[in-house]
Amino acid sequence: MTAAVITPSRRKGSGFWRAFARNKGAVLGLVFLLLVVLMAIFADVLFPTSPWDMTAAPFEPPFSEDALLGSDTLGRDIAAGIAHGARVSLLIGLTSTAVAVLIGVCLGAVSGFYGGWVDDAVMRFTELFQTIPNFVLAVVLVAIFTPSLTSIVLAIAIVSWPPLARLARGEFMSLRSREFVQAAVTTGQSNLTIIWRQILPNSLSPIIVSASLMVATAILLESSLSFLGLGDPNLMSWGYMVGAARTVIRQAWWMSFFPGIAILLTVLALNLVGEGLNDALNPKLARKGRA
């Protein structure tokens, strides 16, 4: 009854930003994320030398003259490693999520739209992936295809699409029976048009939200792989730094501490942004108790 009285906001964009900005944590997360992105973009300007180069004496503690955050066992600058590692983390996080969304949404859409045996087949296939522990599968895949940027991205994507497929399937199933979709059927639109133009735009909100959270998981997965020595050997990454420093953690805490903090804060920021998106895109939850 209340909803009938209150007119919906006219401009969708401004409404979205207002709803997003209401969540202070999300704004904080977004700001931090932007800083990480800037750091990744300007890594070459901030630290022109390769992060693999020796620039200081080994085991320099933080705030020493030639290494702000200290140096590692081979005298490499930790700060440079973090800046360059941000590139790898973000790149792998974003691309693997993009691939996972592509696989997940396609399969979920087909499964939810057609239902019946198609749905059964696709869902059993999805379950096959879900029964194998994520990380083990990723380790196996990277080990088989030799660690490289591509193999890591694909491995992460392959282990993380199933939840997205299930989500997309659920959305498609419920939208499939909505009247505007039936109207599209009766006006003779093809299945592809209906999936692409009618249903997909209406199911994007929850998919965007979980994709944003998935970026965080992907970064963690990449770090774990690198920690185990399965990272791309040519690229400096946060996980690798933590892994390489684990043997000297008692003597030189900073070597694993700062990359670890970088992972923690980035993942936290992504989660905050994801939650903010959820609030902004699912108005029913966001405006609870606000009429």
């Binding site: 209340t2 209150i6 505007f180 009766t186 006006t187 003779g188 009429a291």
Partner: protein, 559 residues
């Protein structure tokens, strides 16, 4: 807990009540300067369209207002005590104890995980000092008093086991548990079928008379008002525009808005000539059968529902066939089978000599444009992410029309259905329910269909908007020589718009014939039962109101 009754004061006395809406709403007050009283032993019907503030008033009395909505001024007295100034705990004792409420949707008002007997018992536990055994006896008593069969067994059922009418009876039993003197009923029969509605109305009237309660009955249906009201209050946009004895308001309405509302009420008997049986049939359904299998898995057998049992029906050129029946009678199933949304198990649907059911998906496609559908819910049937222009042109474009030409045509169609051509650039959420239904009709007409399937096209709309949309459909069918299958649960609407009526019950057509015969001389017992259940049969709309009001409504194209 009980206050000493002050017999001079009215049971419920609302004075200058104003309820503020949060900023950004389309008007500053949900209810403005509202004054009325409710006396012992009377049924006061509060009538108005959606957004008129009638539910807000009830919710204010019950303390159920949403957080952002506040009572800004006014007094609300129950039996002489000012309710709003009482401390929270006393207010709580009053609600449930002396003022009780029943809601529109009995399924959502009952806790699905609790046995109905326990739910009533809970009320007794909070508001009385009875012991366990006494409470149980009281629960059984209450269930029996609202006419439920085998109350001792029924109290152990979960809500999903009960029918809609039974659930509403349980709700009423729960409301009566502690013998309130005020009962607030917020559209208690709107979600029910017409025959069930009749029973519930009788029950409420009966209980009210027996217990000498004051009932505030909120409704939008003047038929229901005519059935049970002692006094009527009419609300428009948060203001009380008219209040008075039922006979006075119904037969000699003073305020123009009341007159307009009454004129828009669909009225049963409108003599329509029998439709010429010599016209060419557009569509013939022959022995269409459809059974749904619900639930079940590998080990458990599911439930089967027969939605169509040997359904046969002919729609002629320019004819409007009404398909009436209660929910679950299978009327939508037939409509959806014709447009190809459901595949029947057997039977034939002949359209211009071709059996549509025998066609493959691709072979069926060319026929889609000849048979179009208007859906029930104007809020769900338009894609919220597309502009109105897109929505209307998608069909023609799918059939190979050029985008520019389709858009030109869409603008003409918008004008045809009474909207401005500029509507094409806007999104559905900028329109009201009636306007959306006009858009939905324009979309169906964009493909220049020969047959229109209208599945409850006005049941989600307010009564005055309903009348306008019905007028539009009536006008269009004459102008475009359309045939129409009009699916509705409301016999009054069917009587107004249909040439031929088919009555459905439990998946079968039990009676079919010219509207005049079916309504004038019903043959089947079920048809008679349906006709008998129409609320407000005894009341006929005053002639002068009909003449002036209807015209006024037609002028108001803002819908």
């Amino acid at each position: 807990m009980m206050t000493v009754s002050n017999s001079n004061a009215p049971l419920l006395d609302v004075r200058n009540l104003t309820i503020d809406l949060p900023r950004g709403a389309d008007r500053p007050h949900a209810v403005e300067d509202l004054t009325f009283t409710l006396e012992r032993g009377e049924i006061l019907c509060v009538v108005g369209e959606s957004g008129s503030g009638k539910s807000m008033t009830a919710h204010a009395v019950m303390g159920l207002l949403p957080k952002a909505v506040k009572v800004s001024s006014g007094v609300l007295r129950h039996d002489g005590t000012d309710v709003l100034s009482l401390p929270e705990s006393d207010q709580r004792a009053l609600r449930g104890g002396r003022i009780a409420m029943i809601f529109q949707e009995p399924m959502t008002a009952l806790n699905p995980l609790m046995r109905v007997g326990d739910q009533i018992d809970e009320v007794l536990r909070y508001h009385t000092t009875l012991d366990r055994a006494a409470r149980r006896a009281r629960v059984v008593d209450l269930l029996a008093s609202v006419g439920l069969p085998e109350p001792d067994q029924l109290r152990r059922s979960y809500p999903f086991r009960l029918s809609g009418g039974q659930r509403q009876r349980v709700m009423i039993a729960m409301a009566l548990a502690v013998e309130p003197d005020v009962l607030i009923a917020d559209e208690p029969t709107t979600a029910l079928d017409v025959t069930t509605q009749k029973q519930i109305l009788e029950l409420i009237r009966d209980i009210q008379a027996k217990r000498h309660m004051g009932v505030m009955f909120i409704t939008h249906d003047f038929g229901v008002v005519a059935e049970i009201a002692h006094r009527v209050a009419v609300m428009q946009k948060g203001k009380l525009v008219e209040i008075g004895p039922a006979a006075e308001v119904l037969n000699r309405p003073q305020h123009p808005y009341t007159r307009q509302l009454i004129a828009a009420v669909p009225h049963l008997i409108e003599h329509r000539e029998a439709f010429g049986a010599d016209r060419k049939p557009v569509l013939t359904a022959e022995k269409v059968c459809k059974t749904f299998h619900i639930g079940g898995g590998f080990f458990t057998p599911g439930r089967t529902v027969v939605a169509g049992n040997q359904l046969s029906l002919t729609i002629r050129q320019g004819e409007t066939v009404g398909l009436v029946g209660e929910s679950g009678s299978g009327k939508s199933t037939l409509g959806r089978s014709i447009v190809g949304l459901i595949k029947p198990d057997s039977g034939r649907i002949m359209f211009e000599g071709v059996d549509l059911l025998s066609l493959s998906r691709t072979a069926f496609r060319p026929y889609r444009r000849h048979v179009q559908m208007v859906f029930q819910d104007p809020y769900a049937s338009l894609n919220p992410r597309h502009t109105v222009g897109d929505i209307i042109t998608q069909g023609p474009i799918a059939f190979g029309e050029d985008r520019g030409r389709a858009l030109e045509k869409a603008k003409d169609l918008l004008k045809l259905v009474g909207l401005d051509a500029s509507a094409a650039e806007r999104f559905p959420h900028e329109f009201s329910g009636g306007q959306r239904q006009r858009i939905s009709i324009a979309r169906a007409l964009a493909l220049e269909p020969k047959l229109l399937i209208a599945d409850e096209p006005v049941s989600a709309l307010d009564v005055s908007v309903q009348a306008q949309v019905l007028d539009l459909l009536e006008d269009l069918r004459h102008r475009l020589n359309l045939s129409m299958l009009f699916i509705t649960h409301d016999l009054r609407i069917a009587a107004q718009i249909c040439d031929t009526i088919a009555v459905m019950q439990k998946g079968s057509i039990v009676e079919i014939g010219p509207a005049r015969d079916v309504f004038g001389n019903p043959q089947h017992a079920y048809t008679r039962q349906l006709l008998d259940a129409i609320p407000g049969k005894g009341w006929s709309i005053p002639e002068d109101v009909m003449a002036t009001g209807r015209h006024g409504a037609a002028l108001r194209t803002s819908a």
